[in-house]
Symmetry: C2
Subunit: 90 residues, 2 copies
Amino acid sequence: MEDSLFRALADPTRRKILELLSEKDRTAGEIAERFPIAFASVSHHLGVLKGADLVATEREGQFIRYRLNTTVFQEVVRYFMTRFSEKNNA
Amino acid sequence: MEDSLFRALADPTRRKILELLSEKDRTAGEIAERFPIAFASVSHHLGVLKGADLVATEREGQFIRYRLNTTVFQEVVRYFMTRFSEKNNA
DNA sequence: ACAATACTTAGACAATTGTATAAATGTCTG
DNA sequence: CAGACATTTATACAATTGTCTAAGTATTGT
């Protein structure tokens, strides 16, 4: 399990971004306007999430659309279930 | 979901400690001797894990025994499954 | 080609964190 | 109670991180 993954999840702004993306895919701008911090700061967070492979991007003209990489989340769930959760009541 | 929880999981030494504890309960000393860092540093990590409620302690004479708090891990799994994982193949 | 829009990257800085050493606390045994 | 052992707490410091502003890249429309 990648170190970058857990480091990415450690920041509350990034977790909020992931929750927004769990509702639907969004562009960088749509995400950024939801936060009280600078546009560039959100972009930095998006870069961290992408580096952890938690999100993927697709360019759409001038926009860049972000979406969750659900595969990685499944791996996270598996990581916790197999190692730490009690086996018979997850 | 507590911020302290994700911050606690962000450090690789702490995740290693949790994996050791998933095998069996151990005293602070038994844990510390497994790592190349100072005893006091491991103790600090244990404090962080305890602050995040990921582990619990029990004094046994001079020793302090650490154990996983599996309840919290179940909450983590639930958090990821409900929000991020695709619903039908976790 | 130029300007506007959308977004990222670079550089700087303050806050947080991981580690170390040293001192303190708690427990047992003689 | 003194000394040994187990562990935590205090303090300091270097490394990492989150944020900002400014500059750069990419795309679209005129």
